[in-house]
């Protein structure tokens, strides 16, 4: 029997603050195996148009609410981690993410639907997270689609 997901479209999760750490940018780039000096070399960063190293395009995926209950979304939906797949991911980058900068992240569920997949029914949950700076200017926007095997 397929499971039934709860409908949570429009739900907003508590905004959370992140500060970009220099070492975290480098750790992330190295984990991907990307040795771009604009991510890894402080001297190259300092001499660049940004005045410091910058983060790789997918770095914002590391932004998470350390104080939040990580199971909240799963519980709200009524599922567990073993059923999840990552369906789609998008990043819009309006300004480069740099070490020492502090941002506010605001996640919101914007859509939810079901479709028949190759291996059975699938639930799709679309979440958008706006990333803004201290002046409330948008820095990046993330959109992710989580797939739940029902």
């Amino acid at each position: 029997m397929p499971i039934q997901l709860n409908r949570i479209v429009g739900k907003e999760y508590p905004p959370f603050v992140v500060t970009v750490e220099r070492g975290k940018i480098k750790e992330f780039a190295r984990a991907i195996g990307d040795a771009n000096p604009f991510y890894l070399d402080d001297d190259v960063g300092r001499a660049s148009e940004w005045g410091d190293i910058v983060a790789p395009p997918t770095f914002a995926i590391t932004f998470r609410d350390e104080d939040a209950d990580t199971g909240a979304l799963l519980r709200d939906l009524g599922t567990d981690v073993s059923r999840l797949l990552h369906g789609e991911q998008e990043f819009e980058i309006f300004r480069q993410l740099r070490p020492g900068e502090t941002y506010l992240c605001r996640p919101k569920i914007v859509d939810q639907y079901e479709k028949a997949g190759k291996t059975g029914p699938m639930g799709f949950v679309v979440r958008e997270t706006a990333v803004t700076d201290r002046d409330n200017e948008i820095v990046a926007r993330m959109r992710s689609i989580t797939v739940v095997r029902l």
Partner: protein
């Protein structure tokens, strides 16, 4: 040359991006990516958990493959050039798989002194199976 600067005028619609070959994927890289990204879903670490979940064993984070295709784009267009990147995860990457990232220029446009290039991007395993497909938009400086 890797990390060389390219200019808007150097790019033509239909150009292929240099292919970027990553892997073979090893468990240690998935563990490292979990630590770096904060995604500790055991499905990428624990073979028994992944089998019990009906996934046939451990597979790579989709975001790692997205990181690979993003690298293919920035190796070509430069760090800090990406304005937008979006992908769909179409198949699983398994341990020992090699992931080859490719891309092709779809369109160029200029507006208010901002020059952007849209590229189609994808990654495939050694079996030729596409694991990631998507698009990216990069901003490039003009030569003049």
């Amino acid at each position: 040359m890797k990390h060389a600067r390219i200019y808007f005028e150097d790019v033509q619609v239909g150009d292929d991006l240099p292919a970027l070959v990553k892997g073979p994927i090893r468990q240690i890289q998935l563990t490292r990516y979990a630590g770096a990204s904060g995604d500790f879903n055991p499905i990428h670490q624990d073979d028994e958990f992944a089998k019990a979940a009906g996934m046939g064993g451990v597979f790579a984070h989709g975001m790692l493959s997205m990181g690979f295709v993003a690298q293919a784009v920035t190796d070509w267009a430069g760090a800090g050039s990406v304005r937008k990147i979006g992908v769909r995860f179409t198949a699983l990457v398994r341990l020992k798989d090699t992931v080859t990232c490719k891309g092709r220029v779809l369109a160029k446009s200029s507006k208010d002194d901002v020059h952007t290039v849209e590229v189609e991007i994808w990654a495939e395993t050694q079996k030729g199976e596409k694991v990631v497909t998507g698009k990216a938009t990069v901003a490039l400086a003009p030569r003049t």
